[in-house]
C-alpha cells in the first residue's frame, strides 16, 4: 500500500483573503487525506459556489467546483455511479443550507456515503456581505441594515431532523481537532456532516471568537469523545450532567449553587453511537450564549445501511433473481409476434 503526504493532495495557490478560515481548513484537509491514505486518483472533491467552494481547485485529486447549492446532489450522483470513489462535498453555509438546503437534508436522509463539509462563517462572503441562513437574529449586514428579522438554521438540527447518522464539529484553526473529525467522517459509512466553524475576516470578523483560539476553546468548548465523560475547562473542572429533560454544567468536586457536590461519576458519558439522538442533539445545540460550552468532535456516529451500498446490493439481488441480463434477453421478455 502506498503512503501519501499532505503535499500529494495539494495543488495551486489559494486565493482566499489572508486570515480566512478556509486556509486553515484546507491545510487540515490535505493532512487528513494523507493520513486516510486514499490515492488522489480515487478521491473526488465536489463543491458548489462561494468562497469555500473554491477549495477543489487546490486539490490534486479529481473534483468539480460546480453551481450554487447543488454540490450534495452532484456528489450523490458521483458516489452512486462509482462507489469506489471517496467523495467529499465542500459547501459554505449559504451554498449548503440556503439554496442547497433541500439537497443537504435529502443526502442525509438517504445516507449516501459522502463526507459533507459545511464551512460555516454565518455570512455570504463572495457576494460581499449579506446575512446567511446561519446568521443570528438581528444580524446587521448589507442586506439587513436594521438587523435580520428571522431565526437561523442550526446545522445539527437539520442534519438530525433529516435522520442523519453522523454529525461532527471542529474549529477551522484547530488543526488536530479538524483532522480528527475528518478522519472520523471518512471512516463513517454514510453521509457524514461536519460543521467547520470558520471566521470571515472581512465581512463577519469574530463570529466564532469564543472558540477560535486555543485559550478560548479551553474555556468555552468541550471536546466530546465517545465513551468518555463530558468534562471541560482548563483542568477539566467542569462537567455536564443530565437534569430532567435538560443538560446542566456543574463544577466538579465543589459545592454548586444547588447545594450539591458532583464527582466525575455524576457526569454524563458521551455516547455517539446511540441510535436515539436526543442527548446528542442537546450537545450539538449548546452555545456560549446559554452558559454552555460549544461541543466539538464527533457528536453522533451511528452505523446504518448506506444508500449506495443498498443500490448495489439490490442490483445484485435482482440480477440473481431475473433471468435476463443483456438487452437482447430483455427484448425476449415481451409479447413478441412473428411476421413471415
Amino acid at each position: 500500500m502506498c503512503t501519501y503526504t499532505a503535499s500529494d493532495y495539494k495543488k495551486g495557490q489559494p486565493r482566499w483573503c489572508p486570515g480566512c478560515g478556509d486556509h486553515f481548513f484546507l491545510a487540515s484537509l490535505h493532512k487528513a487525506m494523507a493520513e486516510i491514505g486514499v490515492a488522489p486518483k480515487d478521491v473526488a472533491v465536489i463543491s458548489g459556489i462561494g468562497c469555500s467552494s473554491r477549495l477543489p481547485h487546490y486539490m490534486a485529486t479529481y473534483g468539480m467546483n460546480t453551481i450554487h447549492g447543488r454540490a450534495a446532489a452532484i456528489a450523490t450522483g458521483c458516489k452512486v455511479a462509482n462507489s469506489k470513489l471517496a467523495v467529499w462535498q465542500i459547501s459554505g453555509d449559504g451554498d449548503g443550507l440556503a439554496i442547497g438546503g433541500n439537497h443537504f437534508i435529502h443526502a442525509n436522509r438517504r445516507n449516501i456515503d459522502l463526507n459533507m463539509i459545511l464551512l460555516n462563517n454565518r455570512i455570504y462572503g463572495l457576494t460581499k456581505g449579506q446575512y446567511s441562513p446561519t446568521s443570528p437574529r438581528g444580524f446587521v449586514s448589507k442586506s439587513s441594515p436594521y438587523g435580520t428579522v428571522e431565526d437561523p438554521f442550526r446545522p445539527a438540527e437539520l442534519c438530525f431532523g433529516a435522520r442523519g447518522h453522523f454529525f461532527a464539529r471542529a474549529v477551522a484553526t484547530d488543526a488536530p481537532g479538524t483532522i480528527a473529525v475528518l478522519k472520523k467522517a471518512y471512516a463513517h459509512k454514510g453521509s457524514a456532516g461536519c460543521e467547520i466553524l470558520q471566521n470571515c475576516v472581512i465581512f463577519n470578523n469574530g463570529t466564532h471568537d469564543g472558540v477560535y483560539d486555543k485559550a478560548g476553546r479551553e474555556k468555552n468548548a468541550i471536546y466530546v469523545e465517545h465513551g468518555k465523560p463530558l468534562v471541560f475547562g482548563e483542568n477539566k473542572e467542569f462537567g455536564l450532567i443530565q437534569v430532567g429533560f435538560g443538560l446542566k454544567v456543574v463544577e466538579l468536586n465543589k459545592e454548586n449553587e444547588d447545594g450539591k457536590t458532583y464527582t466525575i461519576d455524576d457526569v454524563l458519558v458521551h455516547d455517539a453511537h446511540c441510535e436515539d439522538n436526543t442527548l446528542q442533539l442537546k450537545l450539538a445545540l449548546m452555545g456560549n450564549g446559554d452558559g454552555f460550552p460549544v461541543a466539538l468532535g464527533v457528536i453522533r456516529d451511528v452505523e446504518a445501511p448506506t444508500y449506495n451500498d443498498a443500490v448495489e446490493a439490490q442490483i445484485e439481488e435482482v440480477k440473481a433473481k431475473k433471468p435476463y441480463h443483456t438487452f437482447a434477453e430483455l427484448l425476449e421478455t415481451n409479447d413478441i409476434w412473428e411476421v413471415k
Binding site: 480515487d42 453551481i67 447543488r70 450522483g77 470513489l85 439537497h103 430483455l330 427484448l331 409479447d335 413471415k340
Partner: protein
C-alpha cells in the same frame, strides 16, 4: 342493430375504445392491436387520458379513450376519427362521439345507460341517441354487463372481479367485427395472467362470449370490416410505447458503450414511465435514483457522468426549466448527458397529460450565456428507440449534454417495433484520454473534431478539476481573461456545429413539388399521411422532417429554398419556423400552428395545405 351494416374492404380502420378510467379500455385496445399486428397489419395506437387520476365513475370528466389504427399498408397515425366506437357507458358515448366518423359503427353497453348513468352524463331525456343525433341503425346496442355476469355466474368470482371483464366482451365483439383469430388474444391473456390461471380463463370465456354474441345476432353479416395485409416486413415484432422505446434505447446505448446507465429523475407526467421502465431493469445493472427534485435529477446525473456513467435525466417541460442550470454546467464542463424532455402542454403546469411541441426554443436557448447544445426530436413511438440511442451516442462521443425531445403523443402512443439487433447498431466510442497523454494532458485539450477528452476518476495521472467557472484553454485553470473566454465560447460552439448529422430526406414529389411540408418530431405520421392524401388527390407535394434540430442537417438551406412554397407545420406558435428563419437566409415559409394538446388531424392539415398550395 340494423342488418344494413355491410362488409367493407378497407385499407385501414380506426377503432376507439372508451369508458371509465377503470374500465380497462387500454388493455382491450392493446390486445386488439397485438392481434391485428400478429396477422401482419400495421398498427398505431394512442391513449387519451383525463388529467384526473380517477374521476367519479360514470362522470363526463372520467372518460378515457384508447384509439387503435390498423392498416393493410403502413399507417402513420392513430387516425383522425374512428370507424368503430366502443362506449362502455353514457358519459363515454357523449364525450367520445366527436371522435367518430358520421357513419361509424357504435358499440354500447345498454346496461350502462340507465337513468342514473344518463343523469351523470348530463342527458336531458331517455332518448340519448336522439339527443346526440345518432342513427340507431349504426348502433350495436347490447346488454353487455348482463351478459358478462351471466357468462361468469358459475365462475365463483365476486361481482367486482366479474365487472372487470366487461372490457373483454367488448374486445370479443370487435374481434368478431374484424374477423380476428381469437387464439392470438387467448395466448396473450394466458401469458399476461400466467400466474392467475382463473383470471385468464374468465377473460377468455368473456371474449368468446362477445365474439359469439356478434356472430349469433348478426349472422347475416359475416364480418363488417376486412383488412388485408400488404407490404409485410418479415421479422419479430413487439408492441411498444414511445416511453418504453426511449428507455430501451438508453439501455441499448449503455450496453453498446460498455457503461453503467444512470438515470436521475423526478416523477412528472408524461415522462414518468421512463423512470418506471428503467427502474425495473436492475438485472441489467441500470441505476435509477428518484431524486428530491428536478434540479437534483439533473445535477446528480452530471455527477454520475463525471464518475463515468452514461447519465440520463428524464422530465417534461416544467422540469427542464429547473434542470437548465445543471444542463449548463454540463455544457461548460463538457460532460456527456442526455436530457429527455417528453413535451406536454404549457406554460407552467399547463396541460399535463396533453401533447405539444412548445419546448423547442427552451431546448435550444433556455439557458444563460452562450450555451450550444444538440437537440433531437423523435418522430414516432418506435423511433424513440433509435433517437435515444443516437442521443446517447452523440452525448458520449462529443462530450456534451443533448436534449432529446419527444412528446406526450409519441410517449403514450405505440406502434409495432421490429426487434432491433444491437450488433447492427453503430459502435459508441467515447473519447477517453489516451494513456500516452499522461503528464502533458490538461482538461480542455481537444481531439481533432474539437471534442474534449474524457478522464474518468480512478485513472492515475489524470486527476483534474472541472467546474462552472470559465477555464483556460491550455491549462484548465480558472480564467477570466477576455481573449480566452471568447476562444472557449467559440470552441464550445464549433464542437457542436461539427457534430455529423444525416442530411434531410425529402419524400414525395421531391423534384417538382409545388409545396414542401416541413415538421419535426412527433408530427411525422400526420404530416406524412397528409402528404400521401394530397398526392393521391393529384397534388404535387413533398415533405421533409427534422430529427436533428441542432445542429441542422447540412442540406437544410438547400431543401428549404428549393420549392415554390413551404409550410412549416408544428404544434406551437412557430418555433421551428423561427429557428429555420434564423438559420436560413431569406427563408420565409407559410406556417401551420396548432396548440390544442391533441395530435394533428390529417383532414385539417390537408384542408389547410390545399389553401396554401
Amino acid at each position: 342493430m340494423a342488418d344494413s351494416l355491410e362488409v367493407k374492404e378497407r385499407e385501414s380502420v380506426v377503432v376507439r375504445f372508451s369508458g371509465d378510467s377503470g374500465d380497462g379500455m387500454q388493455l382491450a385496445g392493446n390486445i386488439f392491436s397485438t392481434v391485428s399486428a400478429t396477422v401482419g397489419n400495421s398498427i398505431s395506437t394512442f391513449p387519451d387520458y383525463p388529467a384526473d387520476i380517477r374521476a367519479p365513475q360514470g362522470s363526463l370528466t372520467g372518460v378515457s379513450g384508447f384509439q387503435v389504427h390498423i392498416g393493410a399498408g403502413q399507417v402513420y397515425t392513430p387516425g383522425d376519427l374512428c370507424d368503430v366506437l366502443v362506449a362502455m357507458n353514457a358519459a363515454a358515448l357523449k364525450t367520445q362521439l366527436k371522435y367518430a366518423k358520421p357513419n361509424a359503427a357504435i358499440i354500447i353497453d345498454t346496461d350502462s345507460f340507465g337513468p342514473k348513468d344518463l343523469e351523470k352524463a348530463a342527458f336531458q331525456t331517455e332518448d340519448y341517441l336522439g339527443e346526440l343525433g345518432v342513427d340507431p341503425d349504426r348502433v350495436i346496442a347490447c346488454p353487455l354487463t348482463t351478459m358478462v355476469k351471466d357468462c361468469l355466474k358459475d365462475s365463483g368470482m365476486d361481482v367486482k372481479s366479474i365487472m372487470k371483464c366487461r372490457n373483454m366482451f367488448a374486445l370479443g365483439l370487435v374481434c368478431w367485427l374484424f374477423d380476428r383469430d381469437l387464439e392470438i388474444a387467448f395466448n396473450y391473456l394466458k401469458e399476461k395472467f400466467a400466474k392467475k390461471a382463473g383470471v385468464a380463463e374468465a377473460n377468455i370465456k368473456v371474449i368468446q362470449a362477445g365474439y359469439d354474441y356478434g356472430h349469433n345476432t348478426h349472422s347475416s353479416v359475416a364480418n363488417v370490416y376486412r383488412i388485408e395485409t400488404k407490404n409485410k416486413v418479415p421479422g419479430r415484432y413487439m408492441d411498444i410505447t414511445g416511453n418504453k422505446a426511449t428507455a430501451y434505447g438508453f439501455i441499448a446505448a449503455a450496453e453498446k458503450a460498455g457503461l453503467k446507465l444512470y438515470l436521475g429523475s423526478y416523477p412528472i407526467t408524461p415522462a414518468t414511465d421512463v423512470l418506471h421502465e428503467l427502474s425495473k431493469h436492475k438485472s441489467l445493472g441500470v441505476t435509477t435514483v428518484q431524486c428530491e427534485d428536478e434540479i437534483a435529477g439533473c445535477a446528480s446525473s452530471v455527477g454520475a457522468s463525471f464518475a463515468g456513467a452514461l447519465a440520463v435525466t428524464s422530465t417534461s417541460g416544467p422540469g427542464v426549466c429547473l434542470k437548465s442550470e445543471a444542463m449548463n454546467l454540463a455544457v461548460i464542463m463538457e460532460l456527456p448527458l442526455v436530457v429527455l424532455d417528453v413535451q406536454r402542454g404549457g406554460p407552467a403546469t399547463g396541460l399535463p397529460t396533453k401533447s405539444e411541441q412548445t419546448d423547442l426554443l427552451q431546448a435550444l436557448f433556455g439557458r444563460n450565456g452562450e450555451s450550444p447544445m444538440p437537440v433531437m426530436a423523435a418522430m414516432s413511438p418506435t423511433d424513440c428507440f433509435d433517437a435515444a440511442y443516437e442521443a446517447s451516442k452523440v452525448a458520449l462521443e462529443h462530450m456534451t449534454p443533448v436534449v432529446l425531445l419527444t412528446d406526450a403523443y409519441v410517449a403514450y402512443g405505440s406502434g409495432a417495433f421490429k426487434l432491433p439487433n444491437l450488433a447492427e447498431y453503430p459502435a459508441i466510442n467515447p473519447p477517453y484520454v489516451p494513456e500516452e497523454m499522461k503528464g502533458t494532458w490538461t482538461p480542455y485539450m481537444r481531439a481533432e473534431n474539437g471534442t474534449r477528452y474524457w478522464a474518468v476518476p480512478g485513472r492515475e495521472g489524470f486527476e483534474h478539476i472541472l467546474g462552472g467557472l470559465e477555464k483556460d484553454d491550455k491549462t484548465g485553470a480558472i480564467s477570466t481573461a477576455p481573449e480566452n473566454h471568447d476562444l472557449m465560447t467559440r470552441k464550445r460552439q464549433a464542437k457542436i456545429d461539427a457534430i455529423p448529422v444525416p442530411d434531410l430526406e425529402v419524400l414525395g414529389d421531391k423534384d417538382d413539388a409545388d409545396l414542401l411540408i416541413v415538421g419535426f418530431g412527433g408530427t411525422y405520421g400526420h404530416l406524412r399521411a397528409a402528404m400521401d392524401e394530397m398526392r393521391a388527390a393529384g397534388k404535387k407535394v413533398a415533405m421533409t422532417h427534422f430529427r436533428y434540430i441542432n445542429p441542422l442537417p447540412k442540406n437544410t438551406a438547400e431543401v428549404m429554398m428549393k420549392y415554390p412554397k413551404v409550410v412549416v407545420a408544428e404544434q406551437n406558435m412557430g418555433q421551428l419556423a423561427g429557428w429555420l428563419r434564423m438559420k436560413v437566409d431569406g427563408f420565409v415559409p407559410a406556417q401551420y400552428n396548432e396548440v390544442k394538446g391533441q395530435p394533428f388531424k390529417v383532414a385539417e392539415l390537408v384542408e389547410a395545405f390545399n389553401k396554401i398550395i
